[in-house]
Symmetry: C2
Subunit: 597 residues, 2 copies
C-alpha cells in the first residue's frame, strides 16, 4: 500500500449519490454470509456499516472474503452501486447502496472470538472486561464512549465560554494523618515516605482561589480506597469547579448552564431552567431522602395531627413521644395479602418497627388490620390527606422522623420509581445540615470541614439544627455531585474544626499549611464537583457506571484484562524502603505449597 | 451583603464610557499609598487593575483604606470618574479612569507577606513554592497559568473538530515485572499486591484502536519515578493521541494543525506548514543532535575528504580509521587565546579527544595551532567548505562520527543558540534508528517495543542501520514529543520482542495479555504524545517547566507547601500488607535520638 491511504471513504457516508464511484473502505468484517456463491460482508468502521459484495467471478478476492473470520480487519476496493430494487436496508445509513468489491486485503486476521459481539447472548461481565477491547466494538459500548466524550466536551464548552481557567492540580499529594481512604504511593527518593492520591482536588482548588484564579475547572481523576459498592470505582472522574467572589446562586446557575448543554448535546432536549431547589428538610419530609426522584409523585404526607388523640395507641403514643406518623399513597394496585405482608417485612428490614397498610374499598371504606381501632373520622382524614381513591394502597409508618421518612422514601422508590431514564428530572437540594443524625442518633459531620456554616454560633449551641451552605445536584434519584460555599476566614475555619471534633493539634498536623494560606487575603469562594460516571450512565440509561467507563475495575478493584493489582519483585520494594509483611508472605507461601501439592 | 453580588464590574473593564457609573468591585489591594491624606489603592482582580481613591473626607472608608495591608481582599463601592488631565496611566486597561470610593469592606485581611509579589526582588524558588498560592498572584504566574489553559483548549478544539474521541484510560494499572520506573500503589483489598501509575497510556490507547475507536485523544497524567533533572517532574501531562488506519503522514499533519492553532492562540502568529521534516541521520550530520535548533545556521560540515591525504596525521589517521573530521563556522567573534582554549576544554569535557580552532585573518590567511602542519590548499578548502570570512572562528573535531557530531552540535548550541524563544522553529525528525548506539558503542533500543520497524529482517541482520517508523517533534532545540507507527501484527510483535532482547517468557509475563489482544483483527495504527509542560514553557519564554505548572514538585520530588511525601501511620500500612523496612525505621530512630539530644 505504500503511502496510499488506507481508505477513501467511510462506511456510513456512502449513499446513492456515490453510485459509480470507486472507493476504498477499511474496517472490520462484522458479518460474512455466502448466498449461492455470492459473499456478502458487512464492513464496519467507526461511522457505521456498509455492505460489500464479492461475486463468484471475483477470483482471489471472492475466495479471501469467503474464508474471512468475523472481526478480521480488512480493506476493500470496489465500486459503489445502488442496491437492487427492494433490497435496501433502512437500518443502515448506507442502506441504499453496496460496494461491488474488486479487491480485498486482510490487514489483520481475527482468531475465533471468545464471545459474539452482536449482543444476542448475555456475556458475563468478568469475561467482557477481560476482553474489553472486543467489548468496546459493540454498538452499546461504542455509543457509551461517544456519549462520554460528548458530555465532557459540552461541559468544557460552557466553562471555556464563561471565562473559566482549566488548571491541573497535582495527583501526588500529601497524605494526611488519619487519611484512611487515601491510596498511598511510596517515594523512592525518600524511602519510607509516601505520597497520597487525591480523593478530590478540594484544598488545591481553594489554594487557586487564594492565588487569584477567580474561575477554575478541571476534569479531575480522583481516588477512593474503600470497599466497593456497585456504583463506585477506585478511580473516578469529576468535573471540578470553583469560583471566587461567588456564592451559592452563582454556582447553581453555572451548573444549570452546564447540565443543560450536556443534555442538549446528548439527548437533543432543552431542559427548563431554573431547576427546582428544595431544602434538605423539605426533601426529607416529602421524599424521605436527600436525593429525591421527582419524576413521580407518591409524596410523603404527615398524618401526626390525625393520630394525636387517636384511640390507636401505637400511633398516638409515637406522636406523644415526639415521633411522627407519615404515609404514602402507593396508588391503585392489586396486592394480595402476601404482597402486603411483604411490604411490612420490607419496612421492618429498613428499620421501621412496623408498617400499617390500608386499602380503599370501592364503597370508600378502608380495609386494614388496624381499621377496627380507628374512628371513622380518622380513616376519613387519612383518605383525604392522601387524596386517596378506591383501589389505592396507603402505607403508614409511625416512628421517629428520621426512621419514618427514609423507610417511606425507600418504599416510595420501590413502588413508584420508573425503570428507565427517558425523563430527566434535575433538582438542587440546599440548606444541608452541618451534622447528619445517624439512625442511632449520633451526630456526624455531613460534609468536609471546609464547608461554611450559616452560623458558627449555631453550630455550637444547636448542632443538630445548624445549617451549612452546602448543596447537592440530584437527577432521577441519584446524587450527581455536591458543593458548598467554603470558609474563607482562618478564625472561622479554626472554630469549625473545633466544633467538628478536630483538635487543635490534629488540625495543625493535617491542615496547618492550609490554615496559614487562609491568612493572606482569601476571597469568598464556592464550588462544586459533578460525578461524570453517574451522569453519563443515567443519560445512557445504564444501571452500572462500569458500562460508561472505558476500562473499569471489578467490584474488588481488579482488572481482569491486565491482571492488576499484582505482586511485584522484592528489590523494587527495597528501594522504596518497604517490605511485604511477614504474615502476607507466609500466606503466599502456604498458597504456593497447596498449589504444588 | 446577603444575596447581593460581590461585584458589579471588573477592574480592567472600566473606561471613560463608565464615567458617572456607580460600581462595586472586588479583588486584592495590590498597592496602597497615601498622598497628602488621599489614599490610592490599586485594586487587582483576575482581569487587571483599577485605581481606587479614598478622600480624607471619606470617613470610615478612608480610615480602613489607609490601614489596609497589601494583598488584603476587599470590596469597594464607588463611582467611576475620568482621571484628571495628565494623570491617565497608559499601562492599565482602566488607566483613563479611577473609582471615587464611598465604601469599603475588607473581605479578608492579609497578614504581612512572606515576600513581595511585585517581582522587584528575586525570591528563592523553594520559598515561592512554599507559598505558591501567593506566587500565583504575580503577573508572571497568572499569565503562565492562562497560557497553559489556552494551549490545552486549542489542542482540544482542533481534535474535537476532527472527529477525535476523548477517552480516559485508567491510572491504576498493572505493574510490569522490571517496571523499575513505575510508581507503585499498594492495594488494600488485596494486601501485598500493587497497582502501578502509568508512564504513558501506550497500551491502553492501542487497545482502544483494537476496540474500534479510530481517533483517540486525551490530556493524560503520566508518572515517572526517576532521578530528577531540571526539566522533569514525577507527574506530567501529555496530549496523547492515536489513530487507526493511520500512517506517519496522517499523524504529522494532525500535529501541525494542533501546534499551529496553539501558536495562533497564544502568540497570535501563523506558522508556515508543512513543518520541515528531516531524517535522524541528516539531523545528526548537520546538527549533531536529534533535536536540532534550526533557528540559526552554523551547521556542521564534513571535512573528511579534505584531510584524507593530509600530512596532518591526527586528522588523516582518524579518517583512515573510519572516523570523520567535522567542523562548524562559529562566525566572527573576538576570542582571546584563553577563550579559544576554553572551547578546547569544553570539547574535551563533551568527550572529544581534542578540538582544532582556526581564525580567518583579514588577509585571508588562517591562524591556528595546527596551521603549520597543513598545506595551503587544505586550509583554503576548509575556508571554502565553511564559507568563512575574515574574523570567523572555525572549530574542527576529528573523531568517530558519533563523538564528533554531538560535540560540535553542543558547541554550536553554546555559541549560537538564541536566549529567548521569540522565534519558533518547529520541525519533525523522522526515520529514527531501531537502536541507538551509546558513546561506548552499545546498541540499546531507541523506542518502546511496540514501535514498528521498517523491516524486521533488517533489525536482525543489520541492527545498527535498521530504521523504525518513529518520529519526534522538535521546537527550538527541545523535543516536544515523540510517536510512531505501531506494530499491529502479533507475529511481528513477537519477533521484535525477541530482537530487542526480551525473551519469550519475559514478553509473556509482561505483555501476554496485550499479545493476545493483537490477535483479533488489529487495525494499522499510529500515534504521538506532546509534552505539554515543555511546549508551554517555550511559548512563555520560561526556561524551567516548573514555572508553567500550577503546583510543581522540587527536583527531589517534594512539595514544600504541603510537605509531601511524608511518613504515614503504621496501622494504615498494615492494612495494605506492607511495612517500613527495619533499616529505615532504625535510621529514623537514630535521627529522632540525635534531634532530642
Amino acid at each position: 500500500m505504500g503511502n496510499e491511504a488506507y481508505r477513501t471513504a467511510h462506511a456510513a457516508s456512502l449513499d446513492t449519490g456515490d453510485a459509480g464511484r470507486a472507493v476504498r473502505v477499511a474496517g472490520w468484517a462484522e458479518r460474512i454470509r455466502d448466498q449461492g456463491g455470492v459473499v456478502f460482508v458487512d464492513l464496519r468502521d467507526a461511522t457505521g456499516i456498509v455492505q460489500v459484495v464479492f461475486r463468484p467471478d471475483g477470483g482471489e478476492a471472492h475466495d479471501i472474503a469467503g474464508a474471512l473470520k468475523r472481526e478480521s480487519c480488512i480493506q476493500v476496493d470496489g465500486v459503489v452501486e445502488a442496491r437492487p430494487e427492494g433490497m435496501a436496508n433502512p437500518d443502515l445509513a448506507s442502506g441504499e447502496v453496496e460496494i461491488e468489491a474488486s479487491g480485498i486485503v486482510v490487514l489483520s486476521r481475527a482468531e475465533t472470538l471468545p464471545f459474539q459481539l452482536d449482543g444476542r447472548v448475555d456475556v458475563a461481565e468478568e469475561r467482557r472486561l477481560k476482553y474489553r477491547y472486543l467489548d468496546l466494538r459493540t454498538t452499546r459500548m461504542t455509543e457509551n464512549l461517544r456519549a462520554r466524550s460528548t458530555v465532557i466536551q459540552a461541559m468544557r464548552r460552557v466553562l471555556d465560554g464563561s471565562g473559566f481557567l482549566e488548571v491541573e492540580t497535582p495527583t501526588l499529594i500529601a497524605s494526611t494523618p488519619e487519611g484512611a481512604r487515601d491510596f498511598l504511593v511510596p517515594s523512592r527518593l525518600r524511602p519510607g515516605n509516601f505520597y497520597a492520591l487525591p480523593q478530590s482536588p478540594q484544598l488545591f482548588k481553594q489554594l487557586l482561589m487564594i492565588g487569584g484564579v477567580e474561575r477554575y475547572y478541571q476534569v479531575a481523576k480522583c481516588y477512593r480506597d474503600e470497599d466497593f459498592r456497585s456504583d463506585r470505582q477506585v478511580e473516578f472522574s469529576q468535573l471540578d469547579l470553583e469560583g471566587a467572589f461567588w456564592g451559592q446562586d452563582d454556582v447553581l446557575e453555572t451548573l444549570e448552564a452546564i447540565v443543560t448543554q450536556v443534555v442538549k448535546d446528548t439527548r437533543g432536549v432543552d431542559l427548563d431552567r431554573p431547576f427546582p431547589r428544595i431544602s434538605y428538610a423539605e426533601a426529607m419530609e416529602r421524599y424521605g431522602t436527600d436525593k429525591p426522584d421527582i419524576r413521580f409523585g407518591m409524596e410523603i404526607v404527615d398524618l401526626s395531627a390525625v393520630f394525636e388523640q387517636s384511640e390507636f395507641k401505637a400511633f398516638a403514643g409515637v406522636v406523644a413521644d415526639g415521633g411522627v406518623v407519615r404515609a404514602i399513597n402507593a396508588g391503585a394496585r392489586e396486592l394480595s395479602r402476601a404482597g402486603l405482608d411483604a411490604l411490612v417485612e420490607q419496612a421492618q428490614s429498613l428499620g421501621a418497627k412496623g408498617l400499617v397498610w390500608m386499602v380503599v374499598q370501592d364503597d370508600g371504606s378502608v380495609r386494614s388490620p388496624v381499621a377496627k381501632f380507628l374512628a371513622p373520622e380518622e380513616l376519613a382524614a387519612v383518605v383525604a390527606a392522601l387524596d386517596a381513591s378506591p383501589g389505592d394502597v396507603l402505607l403508614l409508618v409511625g416512628d421517629i422522623a428520621r426512621v419514618a421518612g427514609p423507610v417511606l422514601g425507600q418504599l416510595r422508590l420501590d413502588l413508584g420509581q420508573p425503570l428507565d431514564h427517558d425523563e430527566l428530572a434535575f433538582l438542587f437540594v440546599v440548606d444541608f445540615p452541618v451534622f447528619e443524625v445517624t439512625m442511632e442518633g449520633d451526630l456526624v459531620p455531613a460534609h468536609h470541614p471546609f464547608t461554611a456554616p450559616v452560623s458558627v454560633e449555631e453550630m455550637r449551641t444547636n448542632p443538630a439544627e445548624a445549617i451549612s451552605k452546602a448543596y447537592d445536584m440530584v437527577l432521577n434519584g441519584s446524587e450527581l455531585g455536591s458543593g458548598s460555599v467554603r470558609i474563607h476566614d482562618s478564625d472561622v475555619q479554626a472554630q469549625v474544626f473545633e466544633v467538628l471534633g478536630i483538635s487543635r493539634q490534629q488540625a495543625q498536623a493535617r491542615f496547618g499549611w492550609f490554615m496559614e494560606a487562609l491568612r493572606y487575603g482569601t476571597p469568598p469562594h464556592a464550588g462544586f464537583a459533578i460525578g461524570i460516571d453517574r451522569l453519563v450512565s443515567i443519560l445512557r440509561n445504564e444501571i452500572n457506571i462500569r458500562e460508561v467507563i472505558p476500562f473499569p475495575k471489578t467490584q474488588t478493584g481488579a482488572d481482569p484484562l491486565t491482571g492488576s493489582p499484582s505482586r511485584v519483585e522484592g528489590p523494587q520494594l527495597t528501594e522504596l524502603g518497604i517490605a511485604i509483611r511477614p504474615e502476607i508472605e507466609a500466606q503466599w507461601a502456604g498458597e504456593a505449597q497447596s498449589e504444588s501439592v
